[in-house]
């Protein structure tokens, strides 16, 4: 469990996830506190080709992170070439610049709000299967203690 006093070592956890799933690319975007106008950026990443995606300010509803932030639902794209039209690809800057071909993105909740998005991706097509994606979700649930990845549903 995460200790309140010592900062959570995101990079270490990302590296572990990357290794165990053989991801080509993994990145984490965290929501900023309200004073920063809810500007999100990809803050932690491993396996990136360039730093271009770090310049991008994520906006709700735009791109992968924006989509997950807004809907609060996990997103699985088994094959980018089949799901995203080439003419629309520029609207997904991370996918385009990092040349991702198959990925899954998971929302991280805190107090009923999406506080972060975790993206695990491959540069080869059809690598992220349903099976792998649900394993990914389970592992994330166990690692990112103070966050949880399922939407709170009143039963």
């Amino acid at each position: 469990m995460m200790n309140e006093k010592s900062p959570f070592n995101y990079m270490k956890e990302l590296q572990k996830l990357k290794d165990s799933f053989n991801f080509d690319f993994i990145a984490l975007a965290l929501a900023q506190p309200i004073e920063h106008y809810f500007v999100h950026k990809w803050e932690y990443a491993l396996g990136n080709r360039s730093d271009r995606f770090k310049r991008i300010m994520l906006k709700p509803g735009k791109g992968i992170a924006g989509h997950v932030f807004k809907t609060g639902k996990a997103l699985l794209v088994h094959d980018v070439e089949k799901t995203i039209m080439p003419s629309e690809l520029f609207n997904y800057p991370v996918v385009a610049t990092e040349r991702l071909k198959s990925f899954g993105a998971i929302p991280l909740y805190q107090n009923g709000r999406v506080k972060g998005v975790l993206l695990g991706a491959y540069r080869e097509r059809q690598q992220m299967t349903m099976q792998k994606f649900s394993e990914f979700k389970q592992v994330v649930d166990a690692t990112f203690g103070s966050y949880y990845n399922e939407e709170m549903v009143k039963r």
Binding site: Y37, S50, R55, I56, M57, F90, T97, R113
Partner: protein, 348 residues
């Protein structure tokens, strides 16, 4: 005299036989009594056959009506049935062999009152029409671009001046709540709502700028470009190396709009297709021209290839816009080397 008359009739015969003008002679009943080769060429063989048989309505098989004040193609008070009316110049549509229905400029005149002989002369209008159409298209395009720009400006202003202002005052109202005596839960909810409102306000402002930047109207090209490139960087991570060496701060409204829109399009093209992380934009004055240069070292494209990657309308639209201010647009690209867009606008 006799000699002159002979010469004239031979000249007239030559004209009748060789001119591109279509000539028919009709008798009182509307039967074709003579026609030239040009006439034979444009009519369908079966209509010619009907004419040879002396059918007075044969011409109606080819005629698709003439243009009067009410309609483009009509048979109302037909020129053949009403020879007493003035039909010295009008427009008529004929079904021609192989080329479909074409417009002709025509004249229908009685040349022999006694025997009721009338001549029907036609000249093909297609070419003139095409010239006219091109001209119309140009003016139309200009008007469309202007209308679009005006409408964008209106909506952008509306969003910025009224919607965003209203939103801001609600935000202030909400902030007042924070200083009232409320419990912790309510406070947390207020903070959340404040955040959402702030984000919404931000979105509206972005939308307004995206439609048409107020900076362009208020502060000019350089400022508008800097804002735009910042926005591109934040949204797409694409870096723009921008340098502006301008003698004047402001230019004509129309010129500024054209330069801004063309640059916007060029940068978007680089973003979408060039596969680059950096591009260069230069804006400067040289030899009385305002010059914009957008350059990338991306994958380039084949200038002669006919299949465009996008809609293929982008480059066309850029050229059209350039022509609005008598500007010249030069597009150079080489596969594997990159692309350069250069726009020159005379400032005189």
């Amino acid at each position: 005299m006799l000699f002159q008359k002979l010469e004239l009739s031979s000249l007239l015969m030559k004209m009748f036989e060789n001119t591109a003008e279509v000539i028919f002679f009709f008798d009182r009943e509307g039967k074709v009594i003579a026609m030239n080769d040009a006439a034979k060429q444009i009519l369908n063989p079966d209509i010619l056959e009907q004419m040879a048989k002396g059918d007075p309505r044969a011409i109606c098989l080819a005629c698709k009506g003439y243009t009067n004040e009410q309609e483009l193609q009509t048979c109302l008070s037909c020129y053949i049935a009403n020879p007493q009316d003035d039909f010295s110049s009008f427009q008529v549509y004929l079904d021609t062999s192989g080329k479909g229905v074409l417009p002709y400029t025509a004249s229908f005149q009685t040349i022999d009152e006694e025997n009721g002989i009338r001549v029907f002369m036609l000249r093909n209008l297609t070419k003139q029409f095409r010239t006219q159409e091109k001209l119309n298209e140009k003016t139309m395009m200009k008007n469309v671009i202007k209308a679009q720009e005006d409408e964008r400006k209106r909506i952008s202003r509306e969003l910025h001046d009224s919607v965003a202002q209203e939103m801001l005052s609600s935000l202030v109202d909400l902030r007042v709540l924070k200083y009232m005596d409320v419990n912790k839960d309510v406070m947390a909810k207020i903070r959340q709502t404040e955040g959402s409102l702030m984000r919404l306000l931000d979105d509206i402002r972005h939308l307004s700028v995206e439609l048409r930047p107020a900076t362009l109207d208020d502060l000019g090209l350089e400022a508008a470009f800097r804002t735009h490139f910042k926005w591109i960087e934040q949204n797409y991570g694409l870096l723009t190396e921008f340098s502006a060496e301008l003698e004047a701060k402001r230019y004509e409204d129309e010129i500024e709009t054209v330069v801004y829109r063309i640059c916007q399009e060029a940068v978007f093209n680089a973003l979408k297709y060039a596969h680059v992380d950096v591009l260069t934009v230069r804006l400067y004055e040289q030899d009385g021209n305002l010059t914009l240069q957008v350059e990338d070292r991306g994958i380039g494209f084949d200038m002669n290839s006919r299949d465009a990657k996008g809609t293929g309308l982008g480059l066309y639209g850029m050229k059209e816009r350039a022509e609005l201010v008598d500007g010249q647009l030069l597009i150079q690209s080489q596969v594997g080397k990159g692309t350069r867009i250069r726009l020159e606008i005379p400032l005189a």
